[in-house]
Symmetry: C2
Subunit: 228 residues, 2 copies
Amino acid sequence: MKEGPDIAQIGALIGDPARANMLAALTGGRALTATELAGVGGITVQTASTHLAKLEAGGLLAQRKQGRHRYFTLADEAVARLIESMMGFAAGRGHLRHQPGPKEPALRKARICYDHLAGDYGVRMLDSLIASGSIEAVGEGLALTEKGESDLECIGIDVRDLRSSRRPLCRSCLDWSERRAHLAGSLGKALLSSFLDKGWARRTAESRSILFSPEGDRQFLKLFPIDG
Amino acid sequence: MKEGPDIAQIGALIGDPARANMLAALTGGRALTATELAGVGGITVQTASTHLAKLEAGGLLAQRKQGRHRYFTLADEAVARLIESMMGFAAGRGHLRHQPGPKEPALRKARICYDHLAGDYGVRMLDSLIASGSIEAVGEGLALTEKGESDLECIGIDVRDLRSSRRPLCRSCLDWSERRAHLAGSLGKALLSSFLDKGWARRTAESRSILFSPEGDRQFLKLFPIDG
DNA sequence: TTCATAGTTCGATCGTAACCGAAGCATCGC
DNA sequence: GCGATGCTTCGGTTACGATCGAACTATGAA
């Protein structure tokens, strides 16, 4: 019972939904504050604080104080690989999920995935961008074409500015309600931001769903048509 | 929260100590019965049964009925790799363990590790066998020498019989109370069995500790001396 | 100084899951 | 048929940990 490395301890740390979500969010590589992580986990800051303390004590997280903020990151590369490998494993047996997708239809339609658009609308957007030749699927990755760059500039996305960041411009993110890829990366984030700025959609208070206004809905569907 | 593969579910499955131990035991690749796994987990068969059902429902275990036995194995290679990777990760941060070894001194001294002797006595036995030239350490593995074979025959171990089994004769097993290797494999099992048969020691009812009689203790220490 | 924001600690509640005893099936050997 | 063994199911207990409100600390802004 008490022999072998303590995989139970690590399993238990990952085994709580709130903690698992925090870890998954941190897999993106960006440092997040305790409050942000509380939002990711769908819990209050107090609860998040105790979770984060446990994760840190368990060696899964590192903490960096900056002003009155506390930025959390995965402790090291090994943790990231562990989480990734578990996600890959879990993905291989989707039947594992108790709830095979977001419960609420609104979440299935459009929701925020860390910082970009996911759900039916997220998948549709990427499909449309690929169909129009704005984005090319290169192997596992995605690349913005010249046509895509000019098209996006037209709708107010400053692609050059996005390129200056270290973060990849386009990343493919598996959508777990649709089981298809949607657009992540700084471009995915910028697109979602622009929808919010334009008033096409808004975040809901306590949920991760994105609510489109009737007008925003129309504009979105026009901008990202699906042929066939 | 409800997006991404459900690593929380898998984490929770692995996160229970009893289940973790069962999984770790099955990493050896051999099929084990529910009763054996209950012993590994240090729980009753009833409890083990519910654990095993959960693990099977979670896709981590496969079950094969054979007569009145139920043999459990890891569901597939992917599960084995997942467990291995978690063990490797956990080993890399040994400080994770809440209890750095078995609590009770008796467990530290001698205990059963699946089917062979572990703890202080297990480590001593292997050390002595190596020192006397009965066993050679070859890289990560262990090999019985000719001298060892004849020596063991003298104390009533039928090595030829053991060889006929598919199971490796000698295996090195990391001892987590001593942090050193002890002898596993069919030979390790046979040696422990012989101690029990000779009445040198006995298993305790509800614990995994092995209790040596005063006479057995004397014989054991004489048979496996440590010089220096 | 005072107020606001970010976060932790405390205390208490509550739900879930691990656990075992006892009873119930199923299979084997006789 | 019988009893013995291996395992599961049921019922009830218990313990742990996730959760949040409230109070507290720390940093920053005004």
